[in-house]
Symmetry: C2
Subunit: 620 residues, 2 copies
């Protein structure tokens, strides 16, 4: 019934969709198998993309030629650039999405990729020959051959849903869980674990009193995720902010004895940085209120997502407590919040390509690797799809360095450090975060995406123009000098110090209180020059000027690390022969098998002196 | 957590959605509980509304103030008036729908009705007190009070899906089945049965060769379902026609030994008039081909519905056979066809209001009553919703006669005759089908819908204008006489007989070869008069003229029957006291308890002489 595929992707969540799209767009024949074709790219939890560090990931996906940015742009109902008041390393794009449109747009996008075939079914088993995956077997008993297989099962593997004292099987509420795969992988020697995550109740927007909340409108001039010509938002929907209070907390506490988390019924570890509301009031007992974001689920629906109120307490406790939140006095629930427990596979069992160490051509991506979040899942899917394609075509792997992308940081963290709790991206995880900005993901990555045949020529040309134009602007800024008599009046007006001698505009732009727009006012003839360039290019030039020293410092660090990174450790390196290694270091190195000294240096338990010992041993 | 509701509707399929909308629009506080809020108003099978007899039902729903017509109009991708070449009693509107848009539009429509609350959950149990339903209990253990409850569980009660030799639980593919309700109702003394229905595989439109099929475009000037100002289709998508052949049949036969139907694994009876393809080639072995309609699933998706190829044979047999159909040589499947078995409750356990006989305030509507089809489900939902509202407000019931509407025929058939196989509407089931036309559903029903507060004033005014204007036109047609010298040339041109003496236009319009448009040409000054009226009114006048004699004949029959219909039989009538009744007649009357002599006359097993005996006994 089926041809042999280059890549079989199991699951059509955020990871699976990006995996299928990238492999197919690179030329692989791809089969996307998912349990229900009506739930392709469902947002299981909040209807939003991006946010701090996550927004950067979406832009990186886009720069490489992935789809999440484009789809987010087409289906967003609000856009905000978070952290605008901080340095540009912290600027983080985030949007509210129309949940239904988002899923539909993904499906239509995939349908438009000629190389993607679809099959609605549940995968029960992998077909393995000589430690190599060669296909899958479905619950209908169908066997399908594939050169590579990407597993992106999300929260579905032996999924168990908890609400108060009740629990029942399911991969998401209203959907079946998936069985068979975990059991088989364990037999094959894989280690698996259990994690949990939760979601808040959904409520009827018609029953809320928004006058009792603070409005949070979108940005006045909304930006977007994709570097391509996706449409800009013309109008937006507002979100709203309100707060819990001591009364809310008191009611929630009445349910603690029935909480599946506190009672120990839930064994899996939850995301520490995305805690349930009961977790928050338990852990931060001194805080008398917590913020609640009231987010619409789409352009037209009245359904509201109660961000910040994730809970698995009994539904009547959820309800009673919720009604004590200002604006929620008459709130009607559509469904209660719940927690879900699911199987994951510690990602230290993977290579940097996301291929498993022990089974050739088998890739894992997304929540199955112990991460949480759409963006984290999507970028893994993209990388697994790329590498599955490359494997299938016997081409060299595609790996992003920590200094190149948040995606590189994420995968490097997962593979080398592993994770015991749901892994989420933060800016603090990136040591080079001044380099890894949302504004320059195209400059960092599009060339690389183009090399492997994913980002198209159009994208590359745009980036090259942006880079060239930025350089031109920088050159002019250094060349053109302003005279005191010419600009001092304006400087005074801007509230910044006047100058005594002529100064290059470059120098002036370094001042924290001067923006590129101000430069135009200072020098009228230069304004004409600047006006030739688009906003993004001007911004790029400004950031380069203002953050020059930080950027240079990080480049030096990167070079140093790259030297370690270049020191490859042969696959079967015998650590027992290096007597000077610490006991723990040796154990970790033997089990995690880092590919380079750089990787080795980031393994927890491997000390700097272990790294030095290895360096000396390797003759450097 | 919940207030007490006037009406609780269980299930948000076509029946449940209409039930919730109608009861709420009439003023009831309604709770709509459904297993998954993402699947509200899913079309389980083909993406189409209307068709022969079914299209009439949709127009009736619309005329009464229901939603299915409006939603169909807003989401259709093609419209055709079937049977245009036959008499207007046979004209039947039918559309292809955009499956996703249809479901979304229903959800948004329900969200806009202030009186509808939503709850996502599965109902496991009814709360019954003193033979009266007073609420429901969900799988989360939540109890919710309601004055009335409408069950619309569709194909979900103990649903079992079959594909070849495999079977698994589910209410639709990828969705869970519902348990508990059947078991409880049986304990309460209800009789239940098992039925089955099937669906064809879905395929990838990109893999079909449409040049090998016949194109079936929509009507050139597409009409619509609703009598309100819904938008008219501006452009349409085509469907395609192809055929099976002996080769296809031969391959299908290779799967017969694994067929769940032929092997007896499926116990439930399937819809005789909507058979699976294996059924067709089995029952009509002499037919060497069967028609296949190739229908797009929406405006943008590539998914295709293979109408006419419903099957539960093993998926590889489906696949091999399908590829032998012209145009399907390279077809790729998204998922195989399957059959589903589910519980239903023989509808003879219901009153004409769709309330159950034995449990007060409990209503059944849709597939649970042994029917099949969206339209059949929707109209029952509408009627159950109306009557649940009326019950909750202690108002008189709302019943449509067989002479008033297909809806009346359907419910009367179900309640009085019952059904052993999935019941589907046909024009042949209506004895007054010249009266029950698609063009006059508004005239027949809007006044009635308005009386109960469902159809709004606007609708009523439109109908009254249409009726008044039709009468005006008829009067003028009778008054204005054409002179031979004035029109004979034109008559000759039209290819119809010339006249010798002056004749009223009315008389001329009776001719089968003269349309109302031709009358305009015959008499220029009259054209000015006619042009004041819209198409629908002109059509109404024309049909009244042309079919006058048929219509009158049916009116006479209706009157006769209505006399029987008016003869009420008291609820506890003791049939044993009427010695002259036949044995079978007595048994049926005792078990089905008809409310009128008219109903009694339609019960199979009750003979005309039994009816006479009763009439005499009742002193008529
Ligand atoms: C209740 C809940 C709460 C959450 N809360 C948060 C949160 O607070 N913060 C946060 O960042 N993230 C949260 N998430 C996580 C977020 O939804 C996921 O990180 C993200 O969706 C993971 O994407 P994925 O592609 O890995 O898997 P998913 O989006 O889960 O998609 C998995 C896909 O695989 C399919 N599938 C699974 N098994 C099979 C099989 N055997 N055969 C065929 N198809 C299969 C499924 O049908 C589905 O389409 C939550 C998720 C859930 C369910
Ligand atoms: C596989 C298949 C093939 C079909 N083929 C044909 C065909 O060939 N021709 C034809 O005319 N018709 C066909 N149909 C039938 C058509 O889909 C139905 O007639 C129509 O959908 C019935 O509408 P309904 O509202 O009664 O139920 P459904 O549309 O089935 O809706 C039932 C709703 O109730 C919900 N529900 C069920 N139980 C519970 C519960 N306990 N608690 C909460 N919610 C619940 C479900 O989630 C669903 O939303 C087919 C259906 C299926 C599934």
């Amino acid at each position: 019934m089926f041809p042999k595929y280059d890549v079989i992707v199991v699951g059509a969540g955020h990871a699976g969709c990006e995996a299928a799209a990238s492999a197919a767009n690179m030329g692989s024949k791809v089969l996307l198998i998912t349990m229900n074709m009506h739930t392709i790219a469902q947002m299981s939890c909040n209807p939003a993309m991006g946010g701090v560090a996550k927004g950067q990931i979406v832009r990186e996906i886009d720069a490489l030629g992935g789809q999440s940015g484009i789809i987010s742009d087409k289906t967003m109902i609000q856009f905000r650039m978070l952290n605008r008041s901080k340095g540009p390393a912290m600027w983080s794009p985030r949007c509210q999405s129309d949940r239904m449109r988002f899923a539909e747009e993904w499906r239509l996008t995939l349908e438009q990729i000629p190389n993607v075939d679809f099959w609605q079914d549940s995968v029960r088993e992998l077909i393995i020959k000589d430690d190599q995956v060669v296909g899958i077997k479905t619950s209908l008993g169908i066997e399908i051959q594939g050169t590579t297989v990407v597993l992106t099962n999300g929260t579905f593997l032996n999924g168990l849903i908890h609400i108060g004292e009740k629990n029942f099987g399911g991969g998401r509420v209203g959907e079946k869980s998936a069985t068979g795969i975990t059991e088989q992988l364990i037999k094959l020697g894989f280690e698996s674990g259990r994690m949990k995550t939760g979601t808040p109740p959904r409520v009827d927007g018609r029953s809320l009193d928004f006058t009792r909340m603070e409005e949070q409108p979108g940005d006045e001039s909304p930006a977007k995720f994709s570097y391509t010509d996706t449409p800009k938002l013309e109008h937006q929907r507002s979100c709203w902010i309100t707060y819990t209070n001591e009364d809310v907390h008191a009611v929630l506490r009445t349910g603690f004895d029935k909480s599946p988390m506190f009672s120990g019924r839930i064994k899996g570890l939850g995301p520490r940085y995305c805690p349930s509301v009961e977790d928050k009031i338990n852990r931060f007992a001194d805080k008398d209120r917590h913020q609640i974001f009231v987010e619409p689920e789409g352009w037209n629906t009245v359904e509201i997502y109660v961000n910040g109120f994730s809970t698995s307490l009994p539904e009547d406790v959820q309800y009673k407590a919720m009604r004590l939140i200002p604006g929620f006095e008459n709130a009607k629930m559509f469904r209660p919040g719940y927690a879900i427990e699911y199987d994951y596979f510690p990602p230290t069992q993977l290579k940097l390509t996301l291929e498993t160490h022990s089974i050739k051509n088998l890739f894992f991506a997304g929540q199955i690797n112990g991460t949480t979040g759409y963006e984290e899942a999507a970028c893994q899917g993209l990388m697994a799809g790329i590498n599955a394609h490359l494997n299938a075509h016997k081409a060299a792997p595609f790996i992003l360095k920590r200094s190149e992308a948040y995606i590189g940081v994420l995968i490097d963290d997962l593979v080398n450090k592993g994770t015991d709790e749901p892994y989420r991206m933060f800016t603090s995880r990136a040591e080079y975060r001044t380099l890894l900005r949302q504004d320059n993901a195209d400059i960092r990555l599009t060339e690389r995406g183009h090399q492997i045949g994913l980002a198209d020529d159009n994208r590359l040309q745009r980036v090259r123009e942006k880079v060239a134009n930025t350089a031109l602007i920088l050159k002019e800024l250094k060349t053109v000098k302003a005279q005191p008599e010419e600009i001092n009046a304006q400087l005074a007006e801007l509230g910044t110090a006047t100058i005594r001698e002529k100064q290059p505009l470059y120098q002036l732009l370094k001042r924290p209180d001067i923006e590129i727009e101000d430069i135009k006012k200072l020098n009228g003839s230069f304004a004409g020059f600047l006006n030739q360039y688009d906003e993004e290019t001007l911004e790029q030039a400004m950031i380069t000027v203002k953050y020059e020293s930080y950027i240079e410092k990080e480049y030096l660090m990167v070079e140093k690390m790259n030297r370690l990174e270049d020191l490859e450790i042969i696959p079967n390196f015998d650590y027992d022969r290096v007597a000077a290694l610490s006991f723990e270091g040796r154990q970790k190195l033997k089990s995690l098998r880092p590919g380079t000294l750089g990787q080795a240096s980031r393994i927890s338990g491997v000390s700097p002196s272990d790294v030095s010992v290895l360096m000396i041993y390797m003759g450097r």
